[in-house]
Amino acid sequence: MSESTDLAVSLGAGTISFEIDGSLYPQDALYGAAYVFLDRCYVLLDRVSDNRVRVLLRGKTKDAALDGDALAGEFQNELLGQTWRRKIAEDNRSLIEAITARALGGAAGPPGLDDLLEMDVGSETAFDDPLGIAMSWEEKYAKGKSDAAKTAKDAAPADAAPAEDPPEVTP
């Protein structure tokens, strides 16, 4: 295998396996790289020693012979790429959080997507309707049921989205 640096490949019937140094890569990157192969291969990750992880790829279709070198090279590229991308994502985490919080959950506006993401799914009380979607029209916009229509119009934000499924996109 010409391209690999730390992969040892052994080819069996429709199966390849190789070991990588698990201490070099974040576990999420390893899972992310393995995931990319799920449409073509059955994937097994196995820890063979403290730092060594064995990757086993078995082709899903019997007829398609696996190109072991190509697959191992692709796996390694994916693993390094996911690691690289994750490091950049780490550097940007606070920026993305600031933008998301400002866009969807600022003090002046309603709570937003970040609240949804933080929900404790396991708890009965987790879903506290941060976006007010579960409130009825009257609850969200009206002061009282008697003047629902008036209040609804008054309270509707100026940039209220029109009925939109699907929008009429015409030439």
Binding site: T5, L38, N77, N92, A160, A161, E168, V169
Partner: protein, 512 residues
């Protein structure tokens, strides 16, 4: 079944080896070497910006080389890829605008007024009943409760869409619902409109007059040329294609008589791309043109209407669908180049996000998906589902997506239903394996009902999802077209993103 398009073998990380390092001032990026972009690599960022870089430039980025003042730095800075040049305020406003649909509840309300249908279609067994099965008709009382429930939504605009079965088979109840909704909405003042999805086989002049007078938008299904359509949609004692074509022409004429602009007001038709249809990409487009349709939605067959054993006959490898899609849209683009205005709707949905930095709130391609929080489906018996697809799964014997009943449920309880909560979590692209690193995540979305039906879990596995494959394949194609830089093609693609509201169909909500 193969689902993913193969990508070119470009391995900059292996080539860099130990020299790989992160560039210091780059925003979070996702990258994809496109199949037909001359070796160039597409980069996107979480804000929805995109740029092409050469393989050499990508290799430099992989090595952390991004010095201020270099052409690569300038190119990336111009497209919002340099962190130190990002304005939190500006990006927050962009995101808030694109996600504004999150501030409201469901705006699409699908009302199944009957399961009875006069046609038998190859891809629809589960959700229809024979014409004598009148027990599957919605009653006027249930219809009223559907309207009462719909008007509770926190959305300022609501669309009530009549579906079936064939909705015209229960026309008296449909009429009752329309009149009740218009009257009831006077107290709510919502932007209300009606849509009918019909095969048109039961249309009459009287029904048409009523629908036009009451400003009900009419949509139908056209599967392609007559031979294909009639083979897939059997109308006992008649020709399903000729019936549909006859009424499309009649309805379009009626709109013209009303003085409405025919480029905006015409019958919309939907395609279901079966295995047989894959053979006729150009012919299908031409059929739509001949019927006066200016938009075609090249939807692949979905897995909801038929039993798994039927799938073998009508399903197909999604790579065949990609070929079909590319041929059909290339044909559409060549027609546009000759001055004929016709668009493909899948492309328009993605291009609106890619080129216009807008989200048109198409419910099945947004994040989180519109299941329940953007749309609800009401069955003839009053049961409420997170979507029409969820209702079809119920007709196949699985109640997973049933979230209430108009006779007993409160709006708040339905919106807080544990299934709704799970559907939201399952459809946020940024939290899903594979989507979280996918170049197309800023523009994409997956309906969790599709993952459930095709893969057994609302979370799905995108690598093996036929829907993900379709979305990736279409976005690959669109970005390849943008990469060519061909002025005529890019102009056409931009034109497809123009949103023109059909205000004629909006009901007056003036208080009486």
């Amino acid at each position: 079944m193969n689902v993913q398009n193969p990508l070119p073998a470009f391995r900059p990380f292996v080539a860099a080896g130990a020299a790989a390092q992160k560039p210091l001032d780059l925003v979070e990026v996702r990258y994809r070497p496109l199949p037909n972009a001359g070796g160039d690599v597409l980069l996107t960022n979480p804000f929805g910006d995109w740029v092409f870089v050469t393989q050499g430039e990508m290799s430099a980025l992989v090595r952390g080389q991004l010095d201020d003042g270099t052409p690569l730095h300038q190119k990336l800075a111009a497209k919002n890829f340099i962190r130190s040049k990002i304005s939190v305020e500006t990006e927050a406003k962009r995101l808030a605008r694109k996600k504004r649909f999150l501030a409201y509840g469901p705006n699409l309300h699908i009302c199944v007024v009957t399961l009875r249908c006069n046609e038998t279609c190859v891809y629809c067994h589960a959700s229809r009943a024979d014409m004598d099965q009148v027990q599957t008709d919605m009653s006027p009382e249930i219809g009223e409760k559907v309207v009462d429930f719909m008007l509770q939504s926190t959305s300022p605009g609501v669309t009530l869409e009549f579906q079936g079965g064939e909705p015209l088979a229960n026309f008296p109840v449909m009429k009752h619902i329309i009149e009740y909704a218009v009257q009831k909405n006077r107290a709510y003042g919502k932007q209300l409109d009606f849509t009918l999805v019909s095969n048109l086989g039961l249309m009459t002049e009287d029904k048409l007059s009523y629908l036009v007078d009451h400003k009900v938008q009419i949509c139908t299904s056209i599967d392609g040329p007559e031979a294909l359509h009639t083979k897939q949609r059997v109308l006992v004692g008649g020709n399903s294609h000729r019936e549909a074509a006859r009424w499309i022409e009649r309805i379009n004429k009626k709109y013209i008589e009303l003085g409405l602009d025919p480029t905006l007001y015409h019958v919309e038709a939907l395609l279901t791309t079966t295995r047989e249809a894959l053979k006729y990409p150009r012919e299908i487009v031409d059929t739509y043109r001949n019927l006066g349709c200016r938009a075609i939605f090249l939807r692949p067959v979905d897995p909801f209407g038929f039993a798994k054993k039927t799938a073998g006959r009508i399903e197909y490898d999604r790579r065949e669908y990609h070929d079909f899609y590319r041929t059909a849209v290339d044909h559409i683009l060549s027609l546009n180049a000759k001055g004929e205005e016709i668009l493909e709707r899948y492309a328009a949905i993605f291009l609106t996000k890619i080129l216009m930095d807008e989200d048109s709130n198409f419910l099945d391609i947004r994040s989180p998906s519109g299941s329940a929080i953007g749309a609800l489906a009401y069955n003839y018996d009053g049961s409420i589902f997170s979507s029409d697809e969820g209702r079809m799964i119920h007709e196949m014997g699985d109640d997973f997506f049933k979230i209430g009943d108009v006779r007993t449920s409160k709006y708040r309880d339905v919106m807080k239903h544990e299934t709704v909560r799970a559907l939201v979590l399952a459809s946020i692209r940024e939290t899903q394996p594979d989507c979280n690193v996918c170049t197309y995540a800023p523009y994409c979305g997956i309906q969790p009902e599709h993952s459930y039906r095709s893969q057994g879990s609302i979370f799905g596995q995108m690598r093996q999802s036929t829907l993900c494959s379709v979305h990736k394949g279409i976005q690959d194609f669109l970005f390849e077209k943008l990469h060519t830089g061909d002025a005529s093609t890019v102009d056409t693609l931009k034109r497809w993103t123009t949103i023109r509201e059909r205000s004629h169909f909006i009901q007056s909500s003036a208080a009486s």
